[in-house]
């Protein structure tokens, strides 16, 4: 099986989720324009299938109308992938003075 890839957008989502579980719309707001509303749900869905994040429905208050929001949190695999990526970036970075 091919190892899971970690594109820039997914890294950003993981970094944002390291601060704590959050909703898709809040991730867009916190990304300073790096994440778009039209793409964030597709990215989140893909990351969930990869096992980097997990999600659950927000508990709905009695009398609330509409669909419950989905809250996303990072999984241990997601954290490891982000750490591995950071290690890789450090390893490939040019050393000072060379």
């Amino acid at each position: 099986m091919a190892p899971p890839t970690l594109p820039a957008r997914e890294r950003l989502v993981l970094e944002l989720l390291l601060d704590g579980p959050d909703f898709g719309l809040n991730l867009v707001a916190r990304s300073d324009g790096a994440l778009k509303r039209g793409t964030v749900y597709v990215t989140l869905g893909r990351m969930e299938r990869k096992g980097f994040i997990t999600s659950e429905q927000e508990p709905q208050l009695p009398g609330a109308i509409g669909l419950p929001r989905r809250i996303y949190r990072v999984t241990p695999l997601g954290k490891r992938a982000l750490r591995a990526w950071a290690t890789l970036v450090r390893a490939l970075a040019p050393e000072h003075g060379t």
């Binding site: 898709g24 509303r37 039209g38 749900y41 597709v42 869905g45 109308i65 509409g66 419950p68 929001r69």
Partner: protein, 322 residues
């Protein structure tokens, strides 16, 4: 009670989406849209949130389409359109009779759901959409709607509406039979009608055997006869049988009821075949044997429809109680 924003869009697109896209993309997007709209401070903000949310949902859904999965069905549908166009054009060029021409147009419509099903499409709605798309595209490509004929706008529109009215029930019926449709009354009724139409068509083709018509011509007319009998049985036989199944339990008895109702189908068929009531009566008076032979497919088909139509639960429970 006010409907939360996005509900209608969700209801509209959800049946067409794979379950994963619905759960991973559509539902969270709608939920966030509703949250944002609910927490907007002003009406303008709320409107902007709803507009932004809808645009985002549409964009997310477009991005969710996996091209790899859509390519094979798309290629198959276009190939069927091409095949239909070729058949109809050849039939027109050869100046064949109307029944063969209709069969050329109906073949891709009837085959499309089966091909899509083989390629992994299970939803009846998608099979229906594919079949209807093939029908309308083939009509366009063969010069319908003035593409080659140069008719006016209103003529084209009229042709389009007529084609839509003709093809929609056919595409829906084939999609219900082929698709993984819920095994309810609609599926059973449509299946029964198609079974009866198949039996009647076989009887027609066999009846033409002694006339020395080539087998290939007879087989080529199959789609026309299946469609014709399906329409006749649906309009004349099915309503009475749907009422009868409430009281009749046994398939054999329901088949006899269908046989008793078949004169209505016969009269409708005779009217289509002869054009006027006077011509029907003339044929009945002067060539009774021929008319009797002609009516055999109708009777056989009616029997088959009645046999295949399941009795209602009410009549079954009443039967088992007694």
């Amino acid at each position: 009670m006010t409907r939360p924003p996005g509900t209608r869009l969700g209801r509209l697109v959800r049946p067409w989406l794979p379950a994963t896209v619905s759960v991973d993309v559509l539902d969270p997007a709608i939920a966030d849209l509703q949250y944002e709209a609910e927490h907007a401070r002003t009406t303008t903000e709320r409107r902007q949130a709803i507009l932004r949310g809808h645009v985002a949902i549409v964009r997310a859904l477009v991005l969710s389409v996996e091209p790899g999965r859509a390519i094979r069905p798309a290629v198959a549908l276009f190939a069927l359109c091409g095949m239909g166009t070729l058949l109809v054009t050849t039939a027109r060029g050869a100046h064949v009779e109307g029944r063969l021409l209709s069969s050329a147009l109906l073949t891709p419509v009837m085959v499309a759901p089966a091909v899509l099903r083989l390629l992994g499409t299970m939803s009846s709605r998608r099979l229906f959409a594919g079949s209807l798309l093939v029908a309308m595209l083939t009509t366009v490509l063969t010069g319908g709607f003035g593409v080659n004929a140069g008719g006016g706008f209103w003529t084209d529109l009229r042709h389009f509406v007529v084609a839509l009215i003709l093809f929609t029930p056919m595409a829906a019926a084939v999609a219900i039979v082929v698709g993984r449709h819920q095994d309810g009354l609609s599926k059973r009724a449509v299946t029964a009608v198609f079974f009866g139409s198949g039996v009647a068509t076989m009887a027609v083709l066999l009846a033409r055997w002694p006339q020395g018509e080539p087998l290939s011509i007879r087989l080529a007319m199959t789609p026309f006869f299946v469609a014709l009998f399906a329409v006749l049985f649906t309009l004349t036989l099915l309503p009475s049988l749907l009422v009868a199944r409430i009281f009749v339990v046994r398939p054999g008895a329901l088949a006899i009821v269908a046989l008793a109702c078949s004169p209505v189908t016969l009269i409708a068929g005779a009217y289509i075949d002869h054009g006027t009531v006077a011509a029907c009566l003339y044929a009945l008076r002067h060539t009774p044997l021929s008319v009797a032979a002609w009516s055999v497919p109708f009777l056989a088909g009616a029997l088959a429809v009645g046999w295949r139509l399941p009795p209602s639960h009410t009549s079954q429970s009443r039967y088992y109680r007694s």
